[in-house]
Amino acid sequence: MPPPPKGKKRVRTAKDKLLDSDLWAAHIESIWKEVDGTYWFRAHWYIIPEETAAGRQPHNLRRELYRTNDFADVEMESVIRHCYVMYPKEFEKARNEGDDVFLCEYEYDIHWHSFKRISEIEDNDVDDDEAEKDGDWNSCEDPDSDVEDERENQSNPLTRPSPAHPLAANSRKGRIFGLQKIGAKKIPEHVRSHKLTEIEKANATLLLATLPKSLPCRTKEMEEITTFIKGAICEDQCLGRYLYIHGVPGTGKTMSVLAVMRNLRCEVDAGSIKPYCFVEINGLKLASPENIYSVIYEALTGHRVGWKKALQSLNERFSNVTERSKEDDRPCVLLIDELDLLVTRNQAVLYNILDWPTKPNSKLIVIGIANTMDLPEKLLPRISSRMGIQRLCFGPYNYRQLQEIILTRLNGVDAFEKPAIEFASRKVAAVSGDARRALEICRRAAELADYRVKKLLSIPNSAAAGKMLVRMADVEAAIQEMFQAPHIQVMRSSSTLSKIFLAAMVYEGHRTGMSETTFDKLAITVSCLCTSNGEKFPGWDMLLKVGCKLGECRILLCEPGVKHKLQKLQLNFPSDDVSFALKDSKELPWLAKYL
C-alpha cells in the first residue's frame, strides 16, 4: 500500500480516498451502547483488490470491492457516511445512488487468501443460518459505511485463538467445519472476461440446474396442489390430509411442488396465510427407511436423536395436542420424494407416516411423490385406504408442451433453428415425454454445434462463422448418441475372430432353433466355418478368450470362462443386428452366406 503523498493536498472525493485505501468500507452487523455512553458497532470490512494477496487482477473493475471475513469492533464516531455496496445485478441497475457506489461479487478470506463468489440470495432456503444473514443483505439499503483508517483493527482477527483440536469436516454436528478453506487463490480470468456467444448462452439456460423463471404447462396441477395445501393449512381442523403425486420421471413433479411452496412462502411473508413449516425429504437419500423419523424430528425441533426415540416423540407430538407449546402449533407440510423407497417388509414406516395425519389436530399434511401409479394398490389395505384417496397424476409431456418448455427457457436467446426444437420435442414425446431428456438433447445439440463452430474458427482462413444456429443435423446427432446402442459399431470394428464367432452363434441359432448353446458345440461350428472357408482355426483356448471378451462387452451373455467347454452362451442382441453388422464386412465376405 503506497502511503498517500504527504504535504500535497488534492481534492478527492470519498470514493477516491477509499479506492486509494485511505478510507475503508465496512458492513455493520450490530450496534450497541457502552456503559460510558459511546456507541460501538461490529462490522466486517470490505477491501479493494490491491489489498488482497493476489493484487489487482486484470479483470477487476474500478469500483470493485471484496467482502472479507475480517470482523472488528469500532467506535461509532469514526463513521463518515453511508455508501452503497451492490451485487452485480443491482449494480447494473444502479442509477441515483450518487458517487459512493461499489460493486461486490466475491468474498475474500483473509486467513486463506482465497476468493469465493457470494452465494445468490435465491438459494437461502438451504439452511437457516445462511438465510438470516442473507435476509439482512437483502434489505435494499445496505448499512455500509465509510470508516476512517484504523490500522490496528487489521491485526485483530489474526490473533484470534484457533480451536484446540481440528474438527472433522464431514461429521456434521450442526455445521460443516473448514468450508472457509475452499476458495480460489485467484479469480480465474476466463470467468469474468469471457463474452458468451448465443450458443453458449443457450447452453447455460438449458442446464437442468438452472431454475427457469416460469414453469409452463403445469398450471393446472400447480393450482390443484396450491388449493390442497391452502385448504389444509387454513382450516382449523385438518384431518387425513394426504396427497399422492405420481408420474414418470422428468414430468416436473418435484419442481411443481417446490414452486408452489415458494409461492406460498411469499404469501406467508405477505401475511395472507398462516405460517407453517415445510420439511422436504428424499427417500433415496435416506440411509434406511427408518431414518426418516430422525430427519423429520430434526427438521421440526433441531435436535438429533436416534430413530426410535424420534418415532416416540413424533408419535406423542402428533397425537396429543393439548400439551403442545405455542410454537409447535404451526401446521407442518411434509414432502416425501421417491416414496416407494420407504416401503419396508412390514410397511410400518409408511403406515406410521400416513397414520399421523388422521389423528385429530395433528396438523400434518403429507405429500408423497413416486413414479408408479399403482403404489397404493400394492400396499397393505390399511395403508392404501389412507393413501389412495387424493391423487394427482402428472402425465408425460406431449410434444407441444415440451416445445413450450424449451422455448420459454430459450426466451431471448437466438441460437436454435425452430424446426430443430420441434424435432427434438417430437422425438422425446414419442419415447418418454421426459422434459429432462428433451432439455439434455437440446443442450447436447448446442454443444455439438458449438464444437463444430470452434473447429471452424480454429482453421484460420475459413469463412468466419458470423451467426451459427443449432441445426437439425446437430439435434439428429444428439438423438443418435442418446438413443442408439453402440453394439453395432463395436461388432463392426471387432477382430476377425470375434466376427466369425458371432456369425457362428447366429448360424448355430438358426440351425438348432435354440438361442442358447454351449462353447463345445460352438467351437465345432467355428472350426467347420474356418476350414470350409480357408481361414486358420486358432485353437480352442484362443476362441474361449474371444468369447469371454465378447461376454465382457455384453454382446454375448456367457458364463465365466472357467467352465470351458461347458460354458453356456447366448446372444444379447437380436441375431438380425449381428447379421446387419457383419453382412458386408470387407475382410470376410464369406460370412454373409451364414447369416
Binding site: R117, A168, N170, P188, N203, L208, L284, E440, K455, D541
Partner: protein
C-alpha cells in the same frame, strides 16, 4: 562400466514408452474427431462455463478409455491449475453406496486439506458432499468424479448415482461425472429415475483400424533423433526397423496378432515382449524378435497343461472321455477307475497303478482344471464319490495326445474307438 551400450539405452527407452499410455495416445490427440478432443471439449466446457455434465465412456477393454481420460485430466490440470479436483472411484471397490460416499468425502477432504472423520454417517457424508459441491461451485472449482467400472455401481438401489446425478441437476455447481465401463449396455442398467437425470453423453472407444495400427507401430518403435543416443545408431536402427515394418512376413505376424484381438492393449503387450527379446549385441529389432513375441503371447494353456500330464493322468482323461461317449449321467472317480480296470483287463497294458496312486493323479487333474466337480455341494463327501465333468473337448485331447512326446499308442486307439 559407466558407458552403456546404446542398444540397451534404446531398449529402456522403448520399454518406457510402451508402458506409458500418455505417450502412445498422444498421436490421436490432435485430430478433432478423436475421442480425446471430444472428451476434452465436454470437460473443459464444464470448467469454463460453470455447468454440470455427465458422460459415459464405453468400449471393450484395452481400447484406451482410462488412458484418454487420464490424458484429458492431466491437460486440464495443467491448463487450469488449482481449480480442478479429481475424485476417483472404482466399482470393484466402492460399489456399496455407503462406502462409496465415504470414499468421496475422504478424497474431497484430502484434496481440500480438511479433516476427515471415519465415523460420519451416510447422511453426514451426503450433506457434506452437497455442501462441498456448492462451495466449490462458488469458488469456481470443478470437481471431476471418475467412476471406473460404472456398471458395478448400478447394483442395488443406485443411491450413490441418484444423489450425485440429482445434485448435478439441482445444485448450481460445476462438476463432471464420468462413468467408464466395458459393458455396452451400461446406461440401460440405470433405474428409470436415475437415467432421467443422466445426461446421456456417450463416447465410444473402438479398437484401432489398420491405418491407426501402422501409425502406432511407427510412433512407438522409431527412435527419436534428438535423444541422447548416438545419431549413427539411431539412423541405422530406424532404417532397419522401417525395412522390417514393410516386410510381408511382418505384416503376417501383425495380422495373426489382430486376428484374435485387435485392441491397443494387446498390441502394446506384444510390442513389449518383442522389445524385451531384442538382441542388445546387434542392437536391432529383428523379425525373429517379433516371431518369438507372437508365440509367447498366443499361448494355449489347456494344451500346454496336457503336455505336462503323466501317462496315468492321460489314461484317466481318456477313460473319462470314453464314459462321456457312453453318455453316462454322472461320472466320478470310481466309475473312471472301473473303466480304467476294464481297459486294463482287455488290453493288458503295462501301466497299471494302484488305487491310491490313481487318486492322486485324479486330484492333480482337478487342480489343473482339466476336469471339474459338477457342483459345490457335498463338501463332506470325499473326492472319489463326487461327480466330475471333463473340461477339455475330445478335439483338444486328440491334439494333446498327438503332440505328447511319448504317448502310448494304445491311448490313441482307445480314444478313437471311444469316439
Amino acid at each position: 562400466m559407466g558407458v552403456e551400450n546404446p542398444a540397451e539405452q534404446a531398449q529402456v527407452l522403448l520399454r518406457t514408452r510402451l508402458c506409458n499410455p500418455d505417450f502412445i495416445f498422444t498421436i490421436f490427440s490432435h485430430s478433432p474427431d478423436s475421442n480425446y478432443s471430444k472428451l476434452k471439449y465436454i470437460m473443459s466446457s464444464s470448467v469454463t462455463e460453470a455447468c454440470n455434465n455427465s458422460a459415459l465412456l464405453l468400449g471393450p477393454r484395452g481400447c484406451g478409455k482410462i488412458a484418454i481420460l487420464e490424458m484429458v485430466i492431466k491437460d486440464l490440470l495443467q491448463e487450469y491449475p488449482d481449480t480442478i479436483c479429481v475424485i476417483k472411484l472404482n466399482g470393484l471397490l466402492h460399489s456399496e453406496d455407503n462406502c462409496a460416499l465415504k470414499e468421496i468425502a475422504r478424497q474431497l477432504c484430502i484434496e481440500n486439506q480438511l479433516v476427515f472423520s471415519k465415523m460420519a454417517s451416510f447422511d453426514d457424508n451426503s450433506q457434506f458432499v452437497i455442501a462441498m459441491l456448492r462451495e466449490c461451485g462458488l469458488a469456481h472449482k470443478t470437481i471431476i468424479f471418475v467412476l471406473d467400472e460404472f456398471d458395478l455401481f448400478t447394483q442395488g438401489k443406485q443411491r450413490l448415482l441418484y444423489s450425485l446425478l440429482d445434485a448435478m441437476q439441482s445444485v448450481t455447481s460445476q462438476a463432471v461425472v464420468v462413468g467408464v465401463s466395458c459393458r455396452l449396455d451400461a446406461d440401460q442398467l440405470l433405474e428409470k429415475r436415475v437415467r432421467s437425470r443422466f445426461s446421456h453423453r456417450k463416447l465410444l472407444f473402438l479398437p484401432p483400424s489398420q491405418e491407426d495400427l501402422q501409425k502406432i507401430l511407427q510412433h512407438a518403435l522409431l527412435l527419436p533423433t534428438e535423444s541422447g543416443l548416438p545419431s549413427q545408431y539411431v539412423a541405422a536402427y530406424n532404417k532397419k526397423l522401417l525395412n522390417t515394418l514393410s516386410d510381408e512376413k511382418f505384416k503376417d505376424i501383425i495380422e495373426s496378432l489382430c486376428h484374435s484381438d485387435s485392441t491397443y492393449n494387446h498390441l502394446l503387450r506384444f510390442l513389449f515382449a518383442a522389445v524385451c527379446h531384442m538382441d542388445t549385441k546387434s542392437g536391432y529389432l529383428s523379425l525373429d524378435n517379433f516371431k518369438t513375441a507372437l508365440s509367447s503371447i498366443q499361448r494355449q494353456p489347456k494344451l500346454e497343461a496336457l503336455q505336462d500330464c503323466s501317462i496315468l493322468e492321460l489314461y484317466i482323461l481318456v477313460c473319462l472321455r470314453r464314459l462321456e461317449v457312453k453318455e453316462l449321467e454322472t461320472t466320478n472317480f470310481n466309475s473312471a477307475m472301473k473303466e480304467y480296470k476294464s481297459v486294463h483287463d482287455s488290453f493288458q497294458t503295462s501301466d497299471y497303478y494302484a488305487w491310491n496312486v490313481c487318486l492322486r493323479a485324479f486330484e492333480h487333474l482337478l487342480q489343473r482344471q482339466l476336469i471339474s466337480l459338477v457342483d459345490n455341494r457335498g463338501h463332506s463327501q470325499s473326492v472319489e464319490f463326487r461327480p466330475v465333468r471333463l473340461l477339455i473337448s475330445s478335439h483338444e485331447l486328440h491334439q494333446g495326445l498327438k503332440s505328447y512326446r511319448s504317448c502310448p499308442a494304445i491311448l490313441h486307439k482307445l480314444l478313437d474307438r471311444g469316439v
